[in-house]
Amino acid sequence: MKPPAAKPASPSTRAIRVVPSSGPTAWLTSFTAAAMTFLCVFALALSLASGRLADRWSDALARTATIRLSAPAEQVQVQTDAILLVLSTTPGIASYQAIDDDDTRALLEPWFGPDLPIESLPIPRLFEVVEAVPGYDSEGLRNRLTAEAPGAILDDHTRWRRPLAEAAARLRFLGLLSIALIGATMAAMITLAARAALATNIEVIRVLRLVGAKDSYIARAFVRRFTLRAFGGAMVGAAAGLAGVAALPAADAAGGFLTGLGFTGAGWLWPMALPPIAALVAFVATRRAAFQKLRELT
């Protein structure tokens, strides 16, 4: 009946063994950690992708400006020449060009079809300006255009960029908030599971106290078990989440709206941080629950 000789277990391993491993809390903790981490991977992907997309749009708009010329027909060419002269002498401009009728037709084609009679319509003349590094003084350029070509209006896309930047910031915030809420939900569920496990094992706790166990020892036994379960579950959840993100349709197939959704480059490493974070959450939640429950049991 003697147990087989085995390598002596470490104090931590021995501590974990004093608590029975069976029970519904075991799989509940692992499942919760897996599910929450899976959701976290998607929240993270969405947050990163949204921010990246908005940054890209904002950057693209920030580097270009448009000059719109609305003038009487006889003034159009004179003011066009004046605008081009002003642009050629303004420092900080990498390139510029007047958009000809063919390009204007191509721009309007999605809305009006291919047969739009541009020549017979009072459509403003457009100029595309690409900014150099460092850029130009937009106020100075605006003043010069007003003086040389009164029908010209400089649009540096500020009114488009600001809401995009705000949207990007809000999307990032919502993404982080989602992750925080998922983390808090996981902490709450693990706390409930830990308290249930402590309540189930009251007799074990009484025996341990009887033989001189400190609260820290009893708590350690539970905390270690729940932390390991949460870590294991989160690893599975992170792997499943990464597989799910990797399996998303390619940008071309999914269409423009989904362009860039997922992780890029080192971004794929971010989900790897989730299992340790889940373990930390479980550690803190279980430790808190354990000491609270042990105080109640006195």
Binding site: K2, V204, V207, V211, G212, Y217
Partner: protein
């Protein structure tokens, strides 16, 4: 009522600190639960190496007395001191450390049912992050006649085996005091005598023993072997008995 400080029969196996002259002392202790008084005005001192029986009818407060003696309960009024320290001044960690100097044997022999008998015996070492000596563990199992059951799980043991295992677990860390609550309550007379013999041996090694029991035959048997005092709980008070037994 105060029990006189007994003269130990032998020198304690692990001398108490110089300052410690009393292992357990009650001073005007009362304990009430939900408005009902269980113990009142209890004053006594247990000297190192003494052997006391605590007797009285069921529900008289024997278990409560023992729980007060190992700081599971705090007195409603009065003062309980363990190794010259007032239990009300002990932190939770201090209580745990103090319990390592007290071996406790319950009538229902609390074990961790998922761990082997050997692992349960080593539990007092395990919870203090110390290694138990397998040789000493074997010797201890041999002492209580359970060597052949070291790998068994507690539910597989008989009542007498559980009682002896509980006693072995209580002494594995060489405590100064053994508190036994009805240790022979679930066993036959033959096994009761075996357990009594073990307790007497421990007392001869210098341990302070307190045994709560209502078995007067057991007390008589013990008095024939070792110097004992008998404390009787009656009407919530602890009185010194003995001459009438």
């Amino acid at each position: 009522m105060e029990s006189t400080a007994d003269v130990p029969l032998v020198k304690p196996s692990r001398p108490l600190s110089v300052k410690e002259t009393t292992v357990i002392a009650f001073e005007n202790v009362a304990y009430s639960y939900s408005g009902s008084e269980l113990l009142a005005d209890v004053s006594l001192r247990l000297a190192p190496g003494s052997f006391h029986f605590l007797t009285g009818p069921s529900g008289s407060g024997k278990s409560t007395f023992l729980k007060l003696a190992y700081a599971e309960l705090r007195p409603t009024t009065g003062r309980v001191t363990l190794f010259d320290r007032d239990v009300t001044t002990l932190s939770r960690d201090d209580v745990a450390r103090t319990r390592r100097r007290i071996g406790i044997v319950h009538q229902d022999c609390r074990f961790l049912d998922h761990m082997t008998l050997a692992a349960n015996m080593a539990l007092p070492f395990t919870v203090s992050d110390r290694e138990s000596d397998p040789k000493e563990l074997d010797e201890l199992l041999g002492w209580v006649g359970l060597s052949h059951l070291s790998g068994a799980l507690p539910p597989q043991l008989s009542g007498g085996e559980r009682q002896r295992a509980a006693l072995a677990r209580a002494v594995i860390v060489d405590p100064d005091v053994i508190l036994a609550d009805e240790p022979t309550g679930n066993v036959d007379w033959e096994m009761s005598l075996k357990i009594l013999t073990l307790l007497v041996e421990l007392n001869r090694m210098g341990k302070t023993i307190v045994v709560a029991t209502h078995d007067l035959n057991l007390i008589r048997q013990a008095k024939a072997q070792v110097q004992t005092r008998v404390l009787r709980i009656a009407k919530h008070r602890v009185q010194l008995a003995g001459a009438d037994l």
